[in-house]
Structures are given as structure tokens and as C-alpha cells.
């Protein structure tokens, strides 16, 4: 029997799943939080129905009447731009009898038509069918009862679009809190703006979704888990730990509302704008010019920070923006307590030099994604944790205490960023329904 089922007040059970003891420098999380379907059900209501969730980047629907369909927060959604260029998010279900209206993953259309009985809609969601008189009354044509249903809230920051199923949620800028400054460090990389490149990667990890939230900002596991990746960098001449490698850049920042970022000197090349010998002499000048451009636009400190340092950021609950050897935007959603669907995209400057674009994508794949030299081992680690939790009745607790006794600021390879996540998790799980 689960703790949740055993207690009449489940909010008390969720509070009890996190044990923080600052005096003894202990922070522990109950493994049940990763395994229990009742916990997941509560997360759906308390977290995914109330937090701002990433739906997509504006560049993915760049043209008027562009659309795409996407699963977000357990819903099936249409994310689109209407004839006037305004962005919408609709629940992809026909007001008539429920069929999903748009069945392609992306496209461009002047209207949407449900194939079942033929109801059609303008791309701004308004009912557009004109049936013979006598079929439908005024409410259908003018009253909105036959219009596509909008997602309650849709807002954007720097062309990153988010939705919220809670009409009363705080505005997106307040929710993002200090994460905005770190989104700026990505969005400012090109004057022409940033864009999602191609269609992205979709894959399954057989582990609880929170394991990926933790892993995405975990610098502690870098060397032990990814030694073969660092061997590769060494072998091909992409490892640059000498000049320009700045360990003083290493830090972790609590961004508020459960968001956190780690920042560190990069051992690898960055298309913005840290050249490594493996890229060849012919790209050296272009990268150098980009670097100078950043310094010109933002000054020495911020410019070099954008060029040199890497950042892994979690925006609570399930958006990751990692600006590392390439930029990945990643979101994930639980299909079950022990299974998540992951979507990951590459982000790059609009109008990027063709050679650099190629290099960016090549660099992305050296580490990231199911076929990369690192991500498969992350997946393996997460799936191994999930498997280990089968023992939770006797061995019931995770430890994320690293760095607690440290005086001063937390380090990037401490675990304070995960503690930020879990404190927010506890706050939301124990909030009034």
C-alpha cells in the first residue's frame, strides 16, 4: 500500500516525501515520488494543470496560417498563426462530437476541417461551416458554441511560447522570474533572432519524468557517466581545457519558482562562439567574428560569457534549455510513473552562416540525443534509477545533499539546483486543490 493511500490527508504525505535537515546537511526524497501512479495523478492536477508549460517556439510557425499539433500537459493541442499573424493555441477536439480536428503534425492551411461530419473552422478558431437553414441556430453561428476551444492562457517570452490551463495563473513573466535573464542569454545570440532547426527528436525514456528534470542540470554525473564522450573530444581534438577555460565561471543560480541554472567553463567547442581545432582552420575566422560581434553588442563581460560559458537550465516543471556544445530545447511529459515522452529540438541563429549551421548540428549530435555520444548513457542512468526503485520498500530514499555544508555560494556540480526543484514540487503538491 502506498503512503498516499494510507493517509487520509495526501498533502501531508507529499510534504513527508521531502526531508530537509539543514543542521545535519541532509536532503532526501522518497523514491515513492518516482514510482507511485497516485503521485503522478496528483502531479497532473497540482503541477501540470497549473504551471506554465512550453508549447513551442514562434519560429516553428513562422508564416501566417502555419500550424503544428503537439501534446502538452496531457492535452492534444493546435499551435498556429492565423491570417493576420496572431498566435493561437486550441484544444484539438471538435466542438461537435470530439474528434481531433487537425491530424497532421504540421502544415499551412487557410482553415481546419473535421473530417468526421465536416464541421470547419477559420484558423482563428471561429466556426466556418454554412449548413442549410434549419440545421443550426444562432448560438452555433454567432454564439461561439461551435468554435474551437482556446487553451485558457497563452503567453510568450522572447518567442518561447507557453500555455497554462489555469485561468488564474500569474502572468508568464512573473512565473519565469529570473529565468528570463538566462533566456535572454540565448535569445540575444543573434540580432536576427533564433529559430528551431528542422523537426526535432522524439523519444521515450522508461523512467519517471522528474529524473530527467534532475539529470538535465546535474553536473555531478558529467565525468563518471560521460567519460567516453570526453575521450572522444580528446581523440578528435575538440577538448579545450586550457586557454579560455574559465573555472571561475562555475556557479549555480536559484532563479525562483523552482527554476535553476548551472553555469560553467566549456570544455567543448560552441558555435557561439568558442572555436576548437577539430572544426578546422577555415571556420576559425567566422567564429572569431561572431565572438567580436557579441563583445561589441554586449560588452566584454556579457559578450564573453555568451561565447564561452555553458548553461543548463530547468524551468519548472518540464522545460530544459541547455546552451552547451549546441543549444537544445527539451520538454518531457509522463505517460506513466515510469515512462516519459521526450521532445528535443536544436535552436540556432536565424540566417546562420551555412558552414556554421552544419557545424552546430554536427556538434549537437556529438553529445545530444538518442544517437549521441552522451544522451544514451543518461537514458541508461535514468532507467537504472527507476529499476533500482523497485527496492524502495527496503531502500526508500534518494540523497541530494551534495554541497549542503559548503560555506558560500553553491557550486555548479553541487545538488542545490535539484533541491530548488524539489522545494517547488513540495510547495505545489501541498497547495490547496
Amino acid at each position: 500500500m502506498s503512503i498516499v493511500a494510507a493517509l487520509p490527508d495526501s498533502s501531508g504525505a507529499y510534504a513527508g516525501m521531502i526531508r530537509e535537515d539543514r543542521e545535519r546537511h541532509l536532503f532526501r526524497v522518497a523514491r515513492q515520488a518516482f514510482t507511485d501512479e497516485a503521485v503522478l495523478e496528483a502531479e497532473r492536477r497540482q503541477i501540470f494543470d497549473r504551471c506554465w508549460l512550453y508549447i513551442g517556439h514562434g519560429s516553428e510557425i513562422a508564416g501566417n496560417c502555419d500550424f503544428l499539433t503537439r501534446s502538452v500537459g496531457g492535452r492534444e493541442l493546435i499551435f498556429n498563426r492565423d491570417r493576420g499573424g496572431a498566435v493561437h493555441a486550441f484544444l484539438n477536439t471538435c466542438p461537435h462530437r470530439g474528434a481531433t480536428v487537425v491530424r497532421e503534425s504540421k502544415g499551412n492551411a487557410l482553415s481546419f476541417r473535421c473530417f468526421y461530419h465536416g464541421w470547419s473552422f477559420n484558423v482563428n478558431g471561429r466556426f466556418a461551416s454554412r449548413f442549410e437553414e434549419g440545421n443550426y441556430g444562432k448560438d452555433h453561428y454567432d454564439g461561439g458554441c461551435a468554435d474551437l476551444v482556446q487553451v485558457p492562457r497563452l503567453e510568450s517570452y522572447r518567442d518561447f511560447w507557453f500555455i497554462n490551463f489555469d485561468r488564474n495563473a500569474v502572468p508568464l513573466p512573473d512565473y519565469l522570474a529570473q529565468a528570463k535573464e538566462f533566456i535572454d542569454l540565448v535569445a540575444d545570440q543573434a540580432e536576427a533572432g533564433m529559430e528551431i532547426i528542422g523537426s526535432g527528436q522524439q523519444y521515450i525514456i522508461k523512467a519517471n519524468w522528474k529524473l530527467l528534470a534532475e539529470n538535465s542540470v546535474d553536473a555531478f554525473h558529467g565525468l563518471p557517466t560521460h567519460s567516453t564522450y570526453f575521450d572522444y573530444l580528446q581523440n578528435v581534438g575538440s577538448l579545450r581545457m586550457g586557454k579560455g577555460f574559465d573555472a571561475s565561471a562555475n556557479r549555480m543560480t536559484d532563479l525562483g519558482n523552482g527554476h535553476a541554472v548551472i553555469e560553467y567553463g566549456s570544455p567543448w567547442g560552441r558555435p557561439i562562439a568558442r572555436w576548437v581545432p577539430a572544426w578546422g582552420e577555415e571556420t576559425r575566422d567566422v567564429v572569431q567574428r561572431l565572438r567580436q560581434g557579441l563583445i561589441r553588442r554586449f560588452g566584454e563581460v556579457r559578450g564573453l560569457r555568451m561565447a564561452e560559458t555553458s548553461r543548463n537550465m530547468i524551468i519548472f516543471p518540464n522545460l530544459v534549455i541547455n546552451d552547451i556544445m549546441a543549444i537544445t530545447v527539451r520538454t518531457f511529459y509522463p505517460e506513466a510513473a515510469d515512462r516519459m515522452a521526450v521532445s528535443a529540438w536544436a535552436l540556432g541563429p536565424c540566417g546562420e552562416d551555412a558552414a556554421l549551421r552544419k557545424l552546430r548540428l554536427f556538434n549537437f549530435l556529438e553529445f545530444l540525443g538518442p544517437g549521441g555520444f552522451a544522451t544514451p548513457d543518461d537514458q541508461e542512468a535514468l532507467e537504472n534509477c527507476q529499476r533500482g526503485y523497485r527496492n524502495m520498500r527496503e531502500a526508500g530514499w534518494n540523497d541530494i545533499s551534495k554541497g549542503m555544508p559548503r560555506a558560500g555560494a553553491p557550486r555548479n556540480d553541487d545538488e542545490e539546483q535539484m533541491r530548488c526543484f524539489w522545494r517547488e514540487w513540495r510547495r505545489r503538491m501541498t497547495a490547496a486543490a
Binding site: 503534425s105 532547426i197 528542422g198 523537426s199 526535432g200 527528436q201 522524439q202 523519444y203 521515450i204 525514456i205 522508461k206 557517466t225 567519460s227 567516453t228 564522450y229 575521450d231 572522444y232 581523440n235 578528435v236 515522452a341 529540438w345 536544436a346 551555412a354 549551421r357 552544419k358 548540428l361 554536427f362 549537437f364 549530435l365 556529438e366 540525443g369 538518442p370 544517437g371 555520444f373 544514451p376 548513457d377 537514458q379 541508461e380 542512468a381 529499476r387
Partner: protein, 173 residues
């Protein structure tokens, strides 16, 4: 390669490309992968060769210079992929999975000056810790039949799955 087998004799010869010879070549490749003899597998590739797994559902013309693939290796990275996978620290393949590579519907779609374009269907099974992953789709090859033995100039494995259900591509499919 076992020099005593008739298939090996066949493969050792350059020149005339027939479907039967291509099938022998592909079955030999599959056997190397089934046996995790991936260094020998890498030796089937010509210098400068590429190995790619494009994103699912993106059409035939998709290019790793402009679109995000799952795998887009040049010759050096392919060699490094093999080197990595043979290490104990390639955790996703330690302990190693068991694999079986099925190849069928082999067609030589073009043959110019002894260089053949070959298409075939594939199903690859990967079994590990009680989970069986299935990968399926089409392999597209360019094979240099003038070389002795034949050499792969490019291999592209196009998945038919609408998402990567197994999660990882930690093997050569």
C-alpha cells in the same frame, strides 16, 4: 571476415554487381553486427564514408547540414562511435544487449561505373534486461563495387517509426 567461406570469396572480388552479390554483402554486414564485431563492420566503410539516421517522417531529401538528425557521422566520428561502443564505460551497452539484424527486399536502384545504390528493408531487434526493442525501416546504401573487397561509401537508415519508441540508438541498427 572468414576467408574460407564461399561468401567471403564472393565479397573479396571487385567488379560486377548483381543483386545476389549485394545480398551476400548485406547479410555479411548483418552477421558482423549481430556478433557485435563492430570494428570489422567499420572496416566495410570506405574512407570518407558517412553513416546517418535522419529524423523520422522528414522525407528522402533531408540533409544533416540543415536538419537535426539522430545520427550524422562522418568517417572519423563513425570510427569514434565504434571505439566508444567497445568500452565498458559506454553504459547504455554495458552489459551488452543482444541483437538480430534482418534484411530483405533488396534492390539495386542505380548502378553507375561500378558504384551501386542499394535499398533494402530492415528490422533490428535489441534485447536487454527483459525488454525487446524493435527498429524498422529502410537502409539506403551507396556501395563501391570496384573496390576489393567492396566498400560502403554511405549508409542511411531511415526509420519508419513515428517516434523513437525504444528511446536509445545505442547500437548500429
Amino acid at each position: 571476415m572468414n576467408a574460407d567461406s564461399p561468401i567471403a570469396d564472393d565479397l573479396a572480388m571487385s567488379g560486377s554487381c548483381t543483386r545476389a552479390k549485394v545480398e551476400n554483402f548485406l547479410y555479411h554486414e548483418a552477421a558482423l553486427l549481430d556478433g557485435w564485431r563492430i570494428e570489422e563492420w567499420f572496416a566495410l566503410f570506405a574512407e570518407g564514408a558517412t553513416y546517418e539516421v535522419p529524423p523520422t517522417g522528414d522525407g528522402d531529401e533531408t540533409d544533416p547540414a540543415t536538419s537535426l538528425f539522430y545520427i550524422a557521422d562522418d568517417y572519423v566520428r563513425l570510427r569514434e562511435r565504434v571505439t566508444r561502443l567497445l568500452k565498458k564505460d559506454a553504459h547504455s551497452e554495458f552489459p551488452r544487449s543482444r541483437q538480430r539484424h534482418m534484411v530483405s527486399n533488396v534492390r539495386v536502384t542505380a548502378l553507375v561505373d561500378g558504384v551501386a545504390d542499394v535499398a533494402c528493408n530492415f528490422v533490428t531487434y535489441r534485447a536487454r534486461r527483459g525488454v525487446v526493442d524493435t527498429y524498422y525501416g529502410q537502409h539506403l546504401y551507396r556501395i563501391d563495387c570496384n573496390a576489393a573487397p567492396w566498400r560502403i561509401r554511405s549508409k542511411r537508415s531511415v526509420l519508419d517509426m513515428d517516434m523513437l519508441y525504444p528511446g536509445k540508438l545505442s547500437i548500429i541498427i
